[in-house]
Assembly symmetry: C2
Homo-oligomer: 307 residues x 2
């Protein structure tokens, strides 16, 4: 085969209490990407969306990820890549990760799957480095593996897929800009030991809740005393959205990645839709444009659609 | 009934990466305690061990725990308590927790089990407060619940029992004194965010490893970049013990509670015995007296032996 189409899903990093370690893939939205082998050397990008992303490979997150991959592929020639980006850059929904993860999964398929999923995460992390200045893997990993994932360790990469009970995810993306690099810079370099202890109680609780399918424990563990109090200041309406969504029956939730999107988990679809209404009400009242999604956890990760 | 005998087990707090949140009960050693209802008001302690612990109830950890409990028991009269302490105070093996947990479980049995296990944890924490100045529950909880436990939250007490695959535990107690209060005071009040992130990766990994019965993941997650580097300085031979035990096949381990005891987990009993030999070699060479145990996880917690 010499051509492949993939869907690369949006992802929610951190899952409230697990900054830089937890991530979750969503069924929607997703980017669509077509990748073709070419006899003409070089990597050529075409964007058919409205985001004016760079097309020079070394300035494009997918390009950087692909170049890192190609250092390990002997005898390749060229690639034509067409991207229809549906995950808005800067949304906090892993837009850059979808590009990086999508292209490495697509090209791995074209070269007969010679790389493991861990290898693909390592390549795709080069795209994240370009996008945010940091080689993080909390979006890349669920994007490639699907489901909910733990990155236990990033150097000596150690990825742990986590099972979970059925859950619905409601997302609101208020159309304001929060850059990942800015959202990282406002974090303090040190945290109080007493806060760290609360955080690791919640992290352990969330893993146990997911694996034991204990919705109550999941709900109680979706608490962040370290990152959210700082980052939420960048997101107008955050406190009200969170409080109102929980009152509407959501298990809990918080900032998706570095924001500004906010996600909420619900046990039932009806609750997830009610949560969407709550989110719409808040941002309509605040006069901030927004986009919402009611979706589920995506257990496939980047998906090969056709060849 | 008006008399009960209990075994109150030793416990390992923290489990390396989970300072103040994880704990594990051991099959050995355990304290033996006899508690009798009496028509003569008051609480009377008799120690039949060599440790000269205080017998005034308000200075005795079991006494303080019992008094906290009795505020909630109408119409009680008096108690005679005999303790044969086998868990040496100051060992890092939850000696004070065994006293506090043992007495509240025993008395709950005598008053027809009117209290939940969570209630008993709350009462017993008063004993920990007397012993160490802090109302912590990471020894109390596994002592009462048995097995491996997570204390997700201490105010709004939230206890999560964790399943685990079969494991053997080797413990060495070098006969030096490390006071819990001292071991807490040398900890920094702030931790680096990057270290906290490593720690929560390991905490999440340990919970996932235990619940998924993945020995490799358990082993990789038994890493502490925050507390151990500081506290281990108080324990001569620590680094050598840890390195040598892992070379001998242990999954991993570290300081038990605030030390000076060191524990190691192994998948096989033969490995656990080999690990014991390694520990003996190190402390024999260092000229430090020690005591070792090769035991298993205790899933019963404080056990009623006879009435």
């Amino acid at each position: 085969m010499n051509k492949v189409k993939v869907h690369a899903p949006a992802t929610v990093a951190n899952l409230v209490c697990g900054f830089d370690v937890f991530g979750m893939a969503l069924a929607e939205p997703y980017d669509v990407m077509w990748v073709s082998l070419s006899n003409e050397p070089g990597i050529r990008f075409t964007h058919i969306d409205k985001y004016n992303l760079p097309t020079q490979p070394e300035k494009n997150v997918a390009g950087v990820a692909l170049m890192a991959m190609l250092e390990n592929v002997p005898g390749h020639k060229g690639f034509d890549v067409v991207i229809d980006k549906q995950i808005k850059p800067g949304s906090g929904l892993g837009s850059s990760a979808a590009s990086s993860a999508g292209i490495v999964v697509a090209v791995n398929h074209l070269v007969n799957n010679i790389f493991s999923r861990e290898d693909l995460v390592r390549f795709a992390m080069h795209g994240e480095k370009l996008a945010s200045g940091v080689k993080h893997a909390d979006n890349i990993t669920p994007c490639i593996f699907g489901g909910i994932t733990l990155v236990r360790s990033i150097f000596q990469l150690d990825i742990v897929p986590l099972t979970a009970p059925p859950m619905y995810v409601t997302v609101v993306h208020p159309q304001i800009e929060v850059k990942t690099s800015d959202a990282r810079q406002i974090l303090r370099k040190e945290v109080q030991l007493k806060d760290a202890i609360k955080q690791w109680g919640n992290i352990a609780g969330l893993v146990a809740g997911l694996l034991k399918e204990d919705y109550g424990l999941i709900s109680r563990s979706l608490e962040d005393v370290i990152i959210e109090p700082v980052r939420s200041m960048l997101i107008p309406g955050f406190d009200e959205v969170k409080r109102s969504c929980k009152e509407a029956g959501a298990l809990g939730g918080g900032i998706s990645g570095s924001g500004p999107s906010i996600f909420m988990l619900s046990k039932e679809e009806a609750t997830a839709k009610q949560v969407e209404n709550v989110m719409k009400d808040v941002y309509t009242r605040l006069g901030i444009e927004f986009r919402t999604y009611v979706t589920t956890v995506n257990y496939k990760g980047v998906e090969i659609i056709s060849e």
